[in-house]
């Protein structure tokens, strides 16, 4: 072996060792560098007494002792490193990541400001929020979500073709929200106000998966993104509520009423900006902080299962029919949605190769009990609709119910196959990610086709 060759080999070994050290959360770049210098000192000395380079490396590493012990000692001094911090301006010790994080931050601020501005711009031409509720209700998704999509598309360097598609879809949404002659108090306004943000959210999803929208893994990432985004949004909203309460209280105390400012500026601008900020947070903290949605699903799946099963027992026991009001259908839709969410988010964190366990059986029980309840509700409601005729509200609620039902029935079937080890877990995952376009399509149908279909009621 010639000398330069062995030197290269030694360098490769050092590089490998450095990577190995840096993978530990207790160790930072500077620590790895310091320890590497130590190791090199040790190696040089051993070579000086006559060892070959590779031998010297082995002995020096062995002398340093196990990396586990070393990092345990480091953790005692640097315990804060185990609490992974979301560093908003990037890792202090890696300059390239820092500039990237700063650019992200800047883009986020621009998009959030854009969202805040776009909810105030219509006021130049139209009455304010309080007098024009219908306009703001139907357009709500259009103020914030295009900016979130813009941020995501910018971050992923989306191709011009995709940007064109995004712009066209948002424009189509704007047409659907404003072109139809809907009365202020019509049912269709409510239906559109609920479904348009959902349709827009799937456009955001398109921006999210940008490069690879057919890939099941990318779609699953979007599902994870949605859950985390929702949690961050709720947290920001809670913080915002506290801020507004203090603002109101303190300014009232000195005789200035901030009510007008809060309701006309802080609240609307804050909400739309929070949509973008929450999206940025999820992107920035990816892999820095544990995802929280799967933890919540673990916590609540057993509890929801218990509640649903006891509800079923109570229905059978008292043999009471379910009182079907319009609200009831919406309530049961929400129930199915929650069950679907519980399933999706525990799936999103699951190792696809792990064998079926108790939790999977629990989940199957949850899904099946939700299905049984829903079938009871559906049989009641279809009777009602055939009796009294249909309205946009009922048709939309029924449609959602059928879509969720179809998803859950097939999911339950796949899950059963998985628990009995007939099918891999990936089948269930593919089914869920493949189903996403169905929700998007339904939301668009409701938004675009329902108003003319029901003659703008």
């Amino acid at each position: 072996m010639t000398a330069p060759q062995s030197k290269d080999e030694l360098e490769a070994q050092f590089a490998q060792w450095r990577q190995y050290v840096q993978r530990r959360p207790e160790m930072q770049r500077s620590d790895a560098e310091e320890l590497e210098d130590h190791l090199r000192g040790s190696v040089d000395e051993l070579i000086a007494v006559g060892l070959r380079a590779d031998e010297a490396f082995l002995v020096a590493v062995k002398r340093m002792g196990s990396l586990d012990d070393l990092s345990r000692e480091f953790a005692r001094e640097h315990s804060e490193r185990l609490w992974k911090q979301l560093v908003l301006t990037g890792e202090p010790d890696s300059p390239t990541a820092a500039t990237k994080a700063r650019r992200d931050l800047l883009a986020m601020v621009i998009c959030a400001a854009g969202a805040a501005a776009s909810i105030k711009v219509p006021e130049l031409f139209r009455p304010a929020v309080e007098e024009d509720g219908a306009f703001y209700a139907t357009n709500f998704g259009l103020f914030a979500l295009p900016w979130l999509a813009a941020f995501l598309a910018w971050r992923r360097h989306a191709r011009p073709a995709l940007i064109g598609v995004l712009v066209a879809l948002f424009a189509l949404g704007a047409v659907a929200a404003n072109a139809y002659p809907l009365a202020e108090d019509s049912q269709s306004i409510v239906v559109t106000a609920i479904h348009l943000p959902v349709a827009m959210w799937f456009v955001v999803g398109l921006a999210y998966v940008a490069d690879d929208w057919r890939a099941s893994r990318r779609r699953m990432d979007f599902i994870r993104f949605t859950g985390e985004w929702f949690i961050y949004f709720v947290l920001i909203a809670l913080g915002g509520g506290v801020l507004m309460a203090f603002m109101y209280g303190t300014f009232e105390a000195i005789g200035i009423s901030p009510e007008d400012f809060i309701s006309r500026w802080l609240l609307p601008c804050g909400v739309v900006a929070a949509v973008v900020v929450a999206g940025w947070l999820v992107e920035a903290k990816q892999s820095v902080v544990e995802n929280i949605a799967p933890v919540l699903t673990r916590l609540f799946t057993p509890l929801f299962t218990a509640v649903l099963l006891s509800f079923l027992v109570a229905v059978v026991w008292t043999s009471a029919g379910i009182d079907i009001e319009r609200q009831a259908l919406i309530l049961f839709n929400l129930l199915l949605l929650v069950v679907l969410g519980l399933m999706l988010y525990s799936m999103s964190a699951r190792d696809p190769l792990a064998p079926p366990g108790l939790f999977d059986k629990l989940q199957l029980a949850l899904v099946v009990s939700a299905l049984v309840i829903d079938v009871l509700v559906l049989t009641e409601i279809t009777g009602r609709i055939t009796e009294y005729g249909t309205t946009p509200n009922k048709a939309a609620a029924l449609g959602v119910n059928v879509i969720l039902l179809a998803n859950l029935v097939w999911s339950a079937w796949l899950m059963l196959g998985f628990i009995r080890r007939h099918r891999p877990f990936a089948a269930l995952e593919r089914w869920q990610t493949g189903y996403l376009p169905v929700y998007a399509a339904w939301a668009w149908i409701v938004v675009l086709a329902f108003p003319p279909l029901f003659s703008y009621v």
């Binding site: 310091e34 210098d37 000192g41 002792g65 070393l70 480091f74 001094e77 640097h78």
Partner: protein
């Protein structure tokens, strides 16, 4: 004979500060120096030294700077500060007290017992 872990840990801070009081140094050299001073009897590990140096740095007893040595290699040098010197003085006073007291017991002027009477070779 190996010095017990607790004793090594207790003596660690004054020893590092004492070595740094001789002049600035870096991790590997500090460890070599300790080895040399104790004739290899003190069992120091990297897991003891580096976290200790970082703690002393955090407390302001030492300060560090990166200096480049041959090629792209960088080395972190530690230097004792005035706070560290004051702390070292305090440690010395305490250790002197302990050492004096032990000497007084083991080979004090009034002590007639021969040294061999002290049980040896049976660590607690």
């Amino acid at each position: 004979m190996k010095v017990a872990k607790d004793l090594v840990a207790a003596a660690a801070t004054p020893m590092v500060l004492g070595i740094l009081a001789e002049g600035e140094s870096y991790g590997y050299a500090i460890l070599r120096r300790i080895n040399e001073l104790s004739g290899g009897e003190l069992d120091w590990t990297e897991g003891l030294l580096y976290p200790l140096l970082h703690r002393l740095e955090r407390l302001g007893s030492v300060e560090s700077s990166w200096q480049s040595v041959t090629g792209e290699r960088r080395r972190k040098y530690y230097r004792i500060t005035n706070v560290g010197l004051a702390e070292l003085g305090e440690h010395r006073r305490q250790w002197d007290t302990v050492v004096d007291a032990l000497k007084e017991i083991w080979l004090g002027p009034g002590d007639l017992r021969p040294l061999t009477a002290i049980p040896m070779g049976s660590p607690a």
